[in-house]
């Protein structure tokens, strides 16, 4: 929707004979894909707006709402040719005009026609992201359904997860506790949730073998959720009496304060098995090396690539990236969860195909300069680019 200039009006403090030229061709257009709270104004700058020698010192944009009083909404620098008006209301009628300012005088432009903003419920600029989301999400749902119907799905062996049983068995034989560290982030981090789902499986075995589990945490909400998880696991194992709230304790939100406390726990209590699963930052190596120094078997997993090398160097088993998220499905063997793992493979296939085709297109274009290859490469790049407002 566009509204062009309509009629001249007199505004506040405007001389009857302006010595500076006003802007021209002022138009207002609805802003695409918004909540009806934006409009875009464009205009031709004043002819007196010249770099270095011009007399224009700036522009002031005025808004009239529902035929009310004009209100200044923005001061713009010389050279400005457009402005996005924000914080508008969907059901209100608006008009705009621009006042050209110079050192001593000002000049008012024609007003735009009265116009209403438009609200769009879907942002079609994000069509590519929608498409990818539907394809990957759809694939996951299809495989979940397939798995529900009893189809056997192949999932490769993950060494770190296969070792969990042995690690817990080691703790049982040695009569020493298990230490479970769920990372240092809060419940809004998906890695923490992944760690808690593994905790549920581990806690059930801990309850069955009657060994101790110790879980110092750095977030209060994680403490609460972990207690619920362990309690449910103990109930499932038929050992509700053996559960104690003190298995999970809050230390501090402060990163290195938490690390100092956990390191102290490791050195004093000498757990036989240490699980380091979740989001870790700089403290990953400190924890892993301390665990190594006490002779514990360590199973680590994180989706932070920067910390993976430290875990690989210092721990016995490392779950790399997506293996951490696959762990709960892998351990439970639940068909629907396994189906979701299979669905991820569709996303990987898409990524691989895009990489191969993109590299081929760019390479062939640089060798042959045939326009088709450039078009293909540009199209692929646009497919994976998010354009915002």
């Amino acid at each position: 929707m566009t509204a062009g200039a309509q009629e001249p009006v007199s505004g506040d403090s405007v001389p009857t004979a302006p010595a500076v030229a006003s802007v021209t061709l002022l138009t207002a257009e609805d802003y695409d894909y918004d909540d009806g709270d934006n409009l875009v104004l464009t205009w031709e700058p004043s002819t007196d707006d010249q770099p270095d020698v011009g007399s224009v010192t700036g522009y002031r944009v005025y808004r009239i709402t529902n035929n009310g009083e004009p209100v200044a909404v923005a001061d713009l620098l010389p050279g400005s040719q457009s402005f996005r008006v924000q914080d508008l209301l969907v059901d209100s009628a608006y008009q705009f005009y621009v006042v050209t300012l110079s050192a001593k005088t000002s000049a008012e432009s024609m007003r735009t026609s009265v116009m209403l903003t438009e609200r769009e419920w879907i942002n079609w600029n994000l069509w590519n992201l929608m498409l990818i989301t539907l394809v990957i999400g759809g694939a996951i749902l299809v495989y979940i359904e397939t798995a529900k119907r009893g189809k056997k799905l192949f999932i490769r062996k993950i060494a770190g997860l296969e070792a969990i049983d042995d690690a817990i068995g080691r703790a049982t034989e040695m009569g020493r506790p298990i230490l479970f560290i769920p990372g240092i982030q809060d419940m809004d981090d998906v890695q923490t949730l992944a760690a808690l789902t593994i905790l549920g499986r581990v806690a059930e075995q801990v309850a069955t073998y009657d060994i101790k589990i110790r879980m110092p945490v750095s977030r209060s909400l994680v403490m609460t959720a972990a207690r619920e998880t362990i309690k449910a696991s103990y109930q499932a194992a038929g050992r509700p009496d053996a559960y104690s709230e003190d298995m999970v304790s809050y230390i501090t939100d402060e990163q290195f304060g938490y690390v100092a406390a956990v390191s102290g726990i490791m050195v004093r209590e000498k757990p036989a098995t240490v699980f380091l699963l979740g989001t870790f930052l700089a403290e990953s190596l400190i924890l892993a090396e301390t665990g190594n120094s006490i002779g514990a078997i360590q199973i680590a997993g994180t989706a932070r690539p920067a910390q993976l090398p430290f875990f690989v160097a210092a721990c016995d088993f490392t779950l790399i990236g997506e293996e951490l998220f696959a762990a709960s499905a892998y351990l439970s063997g639940e068909p629907r969860a396994l189906g979701s793992l299979k669905g991820q493979d569709v996303g990987k296939a898409m990524a691989m195909a895009a990489v191969v085709l993109g590299v081929a297109a760019v390479t062939l274009y640089s060798l042959t300069e045939v326009g088709f290859f450039k078009t293909a490469a540009d199209w692929l790049q646009a497919l994976f680019t998010i354009t915002s407002d």
Partner: protein, 305 residues
């Protein structure tokens, strides 16, 4: 480096490593506490004896320097102090030198932070750079500190389109509209350069994803060394420069000092820290060699048995 004490220390370290190598050839493992002692000496000695090295800037560091240097005077630069005390040894030097460069080029500097601890870190820059080297700079006119806002990426989502909504006042509770430096700023799109200094989350990656890439405002930053490799994918497409760790900071300090002789007397903590980093790296390399020698010797003994 010609100091006799330096030579003695380096000979001591070298001699000690040689001794460990001979022990490794005899199949003797190195106690980890000995490793710690060597690291202690290799880090402490260069600091105490002030051993420094000349550093040439790598392309990613040069890119940020050139960006700040070539922006027209008066450009608006947003600097976000997204780090805490543990990261400060690596990130504070880069924050200080970049802030000094921005003000030296007469750009308008808007400081903010997404970390609660960032405010204290900015106060260090305020005292040791702004008040000391730019006494004529006026708060609210040449620079402004907007303070801390909780919300991580939520803050970025808001300031991407409406800065004032998230920061209605500066850190001294002066209203937004009363600050001349903020007159032409409505959102992040009104900045000429965004610089995030940190290494955790939220940090430079979040700035690139939520602000820099959607708004196409040039975005750069300085991060800890361990995080820097993760950010190379964003250079030069979504990021126009990167300082990685103390080496990046030292390169920037060296280059800035060489090209701005008026600041020849400035403190260069990053360059000072490259001394221990260099010696410690060499010691670690030596231990890797010793470890492999021990591994080969041990394996041969087992094969013979």
């Amino acid at each position: 480096m010609g100091d006799i004490r330096v030579i003695i220390v380096l000979l001591l370290i070298g001699g000690g490593l040689l001794w460990l190598l001979i022990r490794a050839l005899r199949g003797k493992e190195v106690d980890r506490r000995l490793v710690f002692v060597f690291i202690l000496v290799s880090v402490a000695a260069p600091l105490l004896l002030t051993i420094t090295f000349e550093m040439k800037p790598t392309p990613v560091v040069q890119a940020l320097y050139d960006k700040i240097e070539n922006l027209p005077a008066g450009s608006k630069v947003l600097l976000s102090y997204d780090f805490d005390p543990p990261m400060a040894p690596e990130v504070q030097p880069m924050a200080d030198v970049v802030s000094r460069h921005v003000l030296a080029r007469k750009h308008k500097a808007v400081f903010m932070t997404l970390w609660a601890t960032g405010q204290a870190q900015f106060n260090i820059t305020l005292e040791e750079v702004i008040h000391r080297d730019f006494p004529e700079a006026r708060d609210g006119v040449d620079y402004v500190h907007l303070g801390y806002k909780a919300g991580n990426e939520g803050v970025l989502n808001v300031i991407r389109t409406d800065f004032k909504k998230m920061f209605p006042t500066d850190v001294h509770t002066v209203p937004w509209d009363s600050l001349p430096i903020l007159k032409r700023i409505r959102s992040c799109s009104d900045f000429d350069l965004i610089i995030s200094l940190g290494g955790g989350k939220p940090g430079l990656k979040e700035w690139v994803l939520f602000v820099g890439d959607p708004t196409r405002v040039p975005t750069a930053g300085g991060v800890t060394a361990v995080v820097a490799p993760m950010l190379y994918p964003y250079y030069p497409g979504q990021m126009c420069g990167l300082l990685g760790g103390i080496k990046g900071a030292a390169e920037y300090e060296n280059y800035f000092r060489d090209n701005h002789p008026e600041y020849a007397g400035m403190e260069t903590p990053a360059m000072l820290m490259m001394g221990p980093q260099t010696v410690a790296h060499v010691v670690i390399l030596a231990f890797i060699v010793i470890g492999n020698v021990l591994f080969v010797v041990t394996r041969r003994k087992e094969v013979k048995r």
